[in-house]
């Protein structure tokens, strides 16, 4: 029974992807009919046409959005909407960069310390909306939006006013020490020339850990019970306040980890002092929706979105703009939000087919 539902969920996400790609194709046709076919092929196969480097880049792009996707998806499962992934992401990134620049004393363990600092900072930032929801009944969406902006401006302020962190010429944070970069863990040999690193492994392991946490532990059982039915979880004597706070803190920790993995990737990323929220946080919402909040689904959805995003870069070779990829992703998300509708549609389709087959037998 459980498998059946999951397969329908998978089908509905697949359906959303196909519709999204078709809409993308229509846009390609409208903007440049002559190259539309080639453009479409580029979206689908772009990352594969540049050898192992292209594939490596996909995993590199996927790493942070898998984690922000997990962050949003985990909160969803426990009945909370974590729209604050963006702020938790940048606060985590900041903590990682600070340790990455100043913590050379940690030697070869510097990257581990930086990563843990980011997880902790993200957790604290995520716990704030949890706290105000638990104790003052403030809707977490509103609190999250506010912590997004507070996080962004706070990090901008802290970076730009600190001589040790700030690179005045480029208006971004200084580079982290080499020992703070995540080790490649052999991925540089498999995917030569790409930026992929051990962070991808960390993301995959984290997805598995979250899966186990949700499905196998008493803690996950409690959190999901609260997500499905808050009143029943209260009736059963579960501590709802504690659960809300912990749930948001874990979601924040995941986003914070995403920030560390991106800025410690050794790919020349710096925290730029600009007044815009980190896009990775919002992509996380898309990834969670497409992956139906299931940790393993989120893992696959993150890789997929990274894949077509990478394909979108190659579109520029044909004089298309990369925004088409954003539109495709938006359409995919739009349709995966219809997943319920699509589910009903698919079940009906299946039933009709079964009926037909039965009729044929008679």
């Amino acid at each position: 029974m459980k498998k059946k539902i999951d397969s329908i969920g998978f089908m509905s996400s697949l359906f959303a992807i196909i519709v999204g790609l078709l809409v993308g194709f229509v846009i390609l046709l409208v903007s440049n009919p002559a190259d539309a076919g080639a453009g479409f092929v580029t979206i689908l196969t772009g990352p594969l046409t540049h050898g192992s480097k292209g594939v490596g880049q996909v995993f590199y792009y996927a790493t942070p959005i898998i984690l922000t996707g997990l962050s949003v998806g985990f909160a969803f499962k426990t009945g909370l909407f974590n729209i604050g992934a963006s702020g938790q992401f940048i606060v985590g990134a900041f903590a990682a960069v600070v340790v990455g620049i100043k913590g050379e004393a940690f030697g070869s363990a510097q990257w581990v310390v930086a990563l843990l600092a980011a997880v902790l900072a993200g957790a604290v930032w995520g716990a704030i909306p949890g706290l105000v929801k638990a104790y003052f009944n403030v809707n977490e969406v509103i609190a999250c939006i506010m912590t997004n902006y507070i996080g962004m401006y706070l990090v901008n302020y802290l970076v730009s006013t600190n001589k040790d962190l700030y690179d005045k010429i480029h208006n971004y944070s200084k580079s982290v020490a080499n020992t703070a970069n995540i080790p490649k863990m052999g991925l540089d040999k498999v995917f030569e020339g790409s930026s992929v690193n051990g962070g991808f492994f960390i993301a995959v392991i984290t997805a598995v850990v979250i899966f186990i946490l949700l499905e196998k532990t008493t803690f996950g059982y409690e959190l999901k019970a609260a997500g499905f039915n808050k009143d029943a979880s209260k009736y059963a004597g579960m501590n709802e306040k504690r659960n809300i706070i912990l749930s948001m803190a874990i979601a924040g920790a995941l986003s914070g980890m995403a920030g560390a993995l991106l800025y410690l990737a050794g790919s020349g990323k710096h925290i730029e002092i600009v007044d815009s929220l980190a896009a990775e946080g919002f992509t996380g919402i898309s990834v969670a929706l497409l992956g139906l909040s299931n940790p393993i689904g989120v893992l696959l959805a993150g890789i997929f979105i990274a894949y077509i995003t990478a394909g979108g870069f190659y579109l520029q070779l044909l004089n298309f703009s990369t925004e088409i990829i954003d539109i495709i992703i938006a359409v995919i998300i739009y349709f995966s939000a219809f997943s319920l509708f699509v589910r009903v549609f698919i079940t009906q389709l299946k039933k009709r087919r079964e009926e037909k087959q039965e009729g044929g037998k008679k």
Partner: protein, 510 residues
């Protein structure tokens, strides 16, 4: 023969279950035809087929002798079939009149034209003695009145085949009597009524004929006047049932629950009234104490304060002498208190969890079900199967069935199984048989009595007078947040109880 509706050989299947298995239902013009069956017997499915919500796999429907195809409720409406659903479908901040015309409005130059509608509604209301105020808002009128609005909706659309889906579940005894009169009046004016219920008293009171379904199958149609309740219930359940509760006299022991000076204030802004006013009572081992009263007199808050769902503003609650007033819900759950909640969907179950997950909702953290924080699925499953067997909980796929897909009776059985398996010292049961059929009620009553005989104290809250009189050893009547009487059910009558419940009588010294 003059049948207004014939449903012949209707078959409707759902995955894994045949909800209607070749069912035939024939309604004569101008009769009240009861449709009797346990929960999950297929009554609602059959009516949904008639109302066009489901398409049957087999069989045909004839209305006034002509075979018809009903694709949706609009088709049903056009054929004169109307339905009062169990859960009313009304817009709360609209007036009665607006609700009645909704979906069927007259317009003039694109503007609403209510005058004719008002006249028609008033005429209908007068003719059937419904006494509704067309300008009152739905949220301000009683549930009984809301039901009359639903009836008026059908009449306004000139329906003459009226389906009532368990209409008495939400009504007070007085309102039930009034509804019965309205139904009789409707029939005398030439309407035909299908009355879905599992309450035998009501069938005896109004119905002319009764068709019985059991587990999706058609059992038979009988003339109500010639059939007694015992026979009807046997047809419904399939075996002999005990309509009165079998129990020996209570042997009260030590006090297990003592409530002293309990006061609960209204938390809503602008309200200063106390919902529970200085209430004190005791429940002893081996007795069933029933809180009787009309809905909304503080029963819910009293139970919530006792079980820890809300905080008591004043007073104390002791279980076996231990003060638990400030203790958490979990503490009370694990220290001898069991709670069968009023609303099984809101509080009792996590509907998206499986049956086995629901059966350990309060014990999942115990050593036997977990190992270093990891749930021991095999232990949970084995425990669930044990309870499923012991309490005869029926479901599609056993322990892994989603609670949502189980019938109401079996959902309630699951809650009872979970709560009684804790061997409580004090069992708080709130309307434990609400919306259940005779078979399930009998089972649940016998389980509660068994628990009492095993030495537990039982605090029962019930709105059903039959249940209050039959099951309890002592009755406390609650009126506007105060206990106004402490009665022995053997020495009191329903009429006397009614006077206390309505607030027109109060015991001295209270």
């Amino acid at each position: 023969m003059d049948y207004i509706i014939e449903m012949l050989d209707i078959t409707k299947e759902f995955p894994g279950i045949i909800a209607n298995d070749h069912i035939t239902l024939q309604i004569k013009k101008g009769e009240i035809h009861a449709l009797l069956g346990e929960n999950g017997a297929g009554k609602s499915t059959l009516m949904s087929v008639l109302f066009g919500l489901y398409q049957p796999e087999g069989g045909c429907i004839k209305v006034r002798g002509k075979e018809v195809k009903i694709n949706n409720p609009l088709d049903a409406n056009a054929l004169g079939i109307g339905m009062v659903h169990q859960h009313f479908k009304l817009v709360h901040n609209f007036t009665v009149l607006q609700n009645i015309v909704l979906g069927n409005e007259d317009t003039k130059h694109g503007l609403l034209e209510m005058k004719a509608a008002r006249e028609k509604v008033m005429a209908l209301s007068e003719r059937y003695h419904l006494a509704v105020d067309p300008d009152a808002q739905i949220q301000d009128i009683t549930v009984g009145m809301q039901q009359r609005v639903e009836i008026l909706k059908m009449l306004y659309r000139d329906n003459d085949i009226l389906i009532f889906d368990e209409p008495t579940a939400v009504l007070t005894p007085q309102e039930i009597d009034e509804l019965m009169n309205i139904m009789k009046e409707l029939v005398s004016e030439g309407k035909s009524i299908i009355f879905i219920t599992h309450k035998l008293n009501e069938i005896k009171a109004v119905a002319d004929r009764c068709s019985v379904l059991r587990r999706g199958k058609y059992i038979g149609t009988v003339d109500v006047a010639e059939t007694d309740k015992q026979a009807l219930s046997e047809m419904m359940v399939g075996h002999k049932v005990n309509l009165t509760v079998d129990k020996e006299a209570a042997k009260p022991g030590e006090v297990v629950l003592s409530v002293e000076g309990l006061t609960v204030k209204d938390k809503k802004q602008g309200h200063t009234k106390d919902i529970i006013k200085n209430v004190s009572f005791e429940v002893r081992e081996g007795e069933i104490v029933c809180i009787a009263g009309i809905d909304g007199n503080g029963q819910t808050e009293l139970v919530e304060a006792v079980t820890g769902m809300i905080h008591a503003d004043e007073g104390s609650i002791r279980v076996k002498g231990e003060d638990v007033t400030k203790k958490s819900i979990r503490y009370r759950n694990t220290h001898g208190m069991s709670h069968i909640p009023e609303d099984r969907h809101k509080h009792g179950l996590v509907l998206d969890y499986s049956l086995e997950e629901n059966l350990v909702l309060q014990d999942y953290f115990e050593k036997r079900f977990q190992n270093h924080g990891f749930i021991r699925r095999d232990a949970v499953n084995a425990y669930a199967n044990e309870l499923i067997e012991k309490f005869d909980i029926r479901s599609g796929q056993g322990a892994v069935t989603k609670a949502r897909s189980m019938s109401g009776g079996n959902q309630q059985k699951a809650i009872i199984a979970r709560e009684l398996s804790k061997n409580p010292k004090i069992l708080v049961a709130v309307q434990p048989t609400r919306g259940l059929d005779v078979g399930a009620i009998e089972f649940i009553h016998s389980q509660i009595v068994k628990e009492r005989d095993a030495g537990a104290g039982v605090l029962l809250v019930s709105l059903e007078l039959d249940e209050v009189m039959n099951l309890s050893d002592r009755i406390l009547v609650i009126y506007e947040g105060e206990i106004v009487a402490d009665l022995d059910p053997k020495e009191t009558t329903v009429q006397e109880l009614g006077l206390y419940m309505a607030g027109s009588k109060k015991q001295e010294g209270r």
